[in-house]
Symmetry: C2
Subunit: 338 residues, 2 copies
DNA sequence: TGCTGGCACTCGCGTTGACAGAGTGCCAGG
DNA sequence: CCTGGCACTCTGTCAACGCGAGTGCCAGCA
């Protein structure tokens, strides 16, 4: 186990490096932090920390920089979550209140998070399968063409076109709409499949095929992995990456363009509580020099989706974690109100 | 007026520079293109072209690069629109068919355009005000809380929460829903304000305030400028910008994050026909070294929205224009079908 | 008049070498 | 176990320099 002072040295290294973006040496450390020991002592401590893999030298005779493992220790043991300042809290409220619909909420959240953390923000839309049904609407567009509209309690709206195997009368349509709603409204989407299973049987034989088609499209819409949507923003913050940013930025931008990658990224996060994945802890190669801070949010206790930020491993973890947590909480409130 | 050969020289310079990304000199020009004259002659022509402002030298004793004015002449007079190859056409069809809803269509279009042009793609959602109403839905969430859902013929769905001044009964709601729909379905959204103007009068006095509230929210939703939405993609293509990309990329990324800027950018484009804005022709400062190629698309003859790409001024104009046009046409078809 | 070859000139770029500065590792002493 | 001292290493920077690409101009030629 590392001595108290060595941990203190690691903390100082992380803080300085995050601030200056430059490898930090023993002399500079003793000057900026009152460690009460000489540079030589610090050098010895550094040598130990390096042996243990918490810090590294870019090259001989340069200062040290934290490794992923070093950041990990810092986040787990040495740093707390920095609460936001009250102007920041106010900013959150001002920014998020006045959103007119869910797209707006998600859009504002992304911008807010990006601005607050000065990093790339990702916000997942509330998952369908974890929400409850507010309403199911069926519209007739043409004799054999319907439009299905799903509305969740979180305000999410999904639509699908349906080509029917046979023309579908207006009365049958009203019938289906009513029965569908009476069965599923206020129920969880995840339970919908069971709830509608036997619905075709109660229809006239000529309509049965169409009803089945409608239901199968409805169920398709609910398939996990496919039903997830998300929004990202603040990509211009990538330019703050550091001096080596031209090299780093490309794989990150590429990763950010692939929804699948991002969904996996957020999916890896624990369902409750904040998750921090540092550097190589991220499965995706392009994100090996980034860290992801993510947390679930929801209208109640249960998370309906996740949000978070992606930034350089050299980031202000306490501040970022504070901002992410605060935003998630407030978004949860907003959703509960709507 | 410039002689035929001088134009030919300009064309050659543009083509070479776009290909190599390096200033092009007189010797290299005569080698790569059979102009039938010696380097010395080309040098004289270049001097003239430089006097006229079509090309410039980054510094003495370097080759020439086209100026914005040079690209403008190239686009207007020297280059056509390159039709896509048939594999490319097939790719468009494969990629765009199978979209399940409008979000999906727009999302696929953005990715397709980004991939085809290897540039940043922007696709505007079909404008509400230029579409027609397919359906208006009103849902009761709580005694004094409604949800308004608008559906357009292009498949776009908008939703709004409404806090009513007074509780609104289920029968009144059904009534309002029916009357609203009978008035506006199949009409253009732009005409909706007139069509619903006198609607409150036909309601009982206790419901009148609520009906007015609903209508005012409905009209708010249709305000131009606010109702526009768009999607962008292919930002990782910015890394292809060239050697000076670290400098260029930041303002561009920043501009791309501001919906307002992008909407203006597309808004400046002509309603019909393709628009190419080169370098400083773009009002926004951050985009002074980019070109924008945009075109309207729609299900019929009339454009319901625009799409386009943003890339370095040094881009393959004929190819880009071809891709943008082809994609716009096919998206139009897809919309017409849905 | 317009094209061509020749020639001197300019300028950016990459290489080289020297140098200062920062930082380390190690060692002997308190 | 900490400290001061010392030799060593590596980087970044700066100036000098030669190379090569490319130009502008001029005299000659069709």
């Amino acid at each position: 186990m590392l001595s108290e002072r060595r941990l203190e040295v690691l903390r100082a290294i992380v803080q300085d490096y995050v601030g200056t973006e430059e490898p930090v040496g023993s002399k500079a450390l003793t000057e900026r932090h009152k460690l009460g020991v000489s540079p030589a002592t610090v050098r010895n401590d550094m040598a130990v920390l390096e042996d243990e893999g918490f810090i590294a030298q870019p090259h001989t005779s340069a200062g040290r920089i934290p490794t992923d493992k070093g950041y990990r220790l810092f986040v787990d043991k040495l740093a707390g979550v920095k609460p936001l300042s009250s102007p920041e809290r106010r900013a959150i409220h001002n920014f998020l209140d006045g959103a007119v619909d869910l797209d707006d909420v998600v859009g504002r959240t992304v911008r807010l998070l990006a601005q607050l953390t000065r990093q790339v923000a990702i916000v997942q839309y509330p998952s369908l399968t974890r929400s409850t049904v507010r309403h199911v609407e069926l519209l007739s567009l043409a004799p054999a063409r319907l439009m299905l509209v799903l509305i969740t309690d979180t305000g999410r709206v999904e639509q699908r076109m349906i080509d029917c195997p046979a023309p579908f009368g207006e009365t049958s349509l009203a019938d289906l709409r009513a029965r569908l709603n009476s069965r599923v409204v206020s129920r969880r989407f995840a339970d919908v499949p069971q709830l509608v299973q036997d619905l075709p049987e109660s229809f006239e034989s000529e309509d049965r095929a169409t009803v089945s088609t409608v239901l199968s499209i409805l169920l398709e819409t609910l398939v996990e992995e496919t039903e997830e949507r998300l929004m990202i923003g603040g990509t211009s913050n990538l330019t703050r990456f550091g001096h080596d940013f031209p090299v780093m930025i490309r794989p990150v931008l590429e990763a950010l363009e692939e929804q699948v990658v991002l969904l996996k990224l957020l999916g890896e996060a624990k369902d409750s509580g904040m998750t921090v994945r540092i550097g190589h802890e991220n499965a995706h190669e392009g994100l090996n020099s980034t860290s992801v801070v993510a947390v679930g949010y929801g209208s109640g206790d249960e998370a309906v989706a996740k949000l978070g930020v992606v930034g350089p491993t050299r980031m202000d973890y306490p501040g970022t974690m504070g901002a992410v947590r605060a935003v998630a909480r407030y978004v949860g409130q907003i959703l509960a109100e709507s």
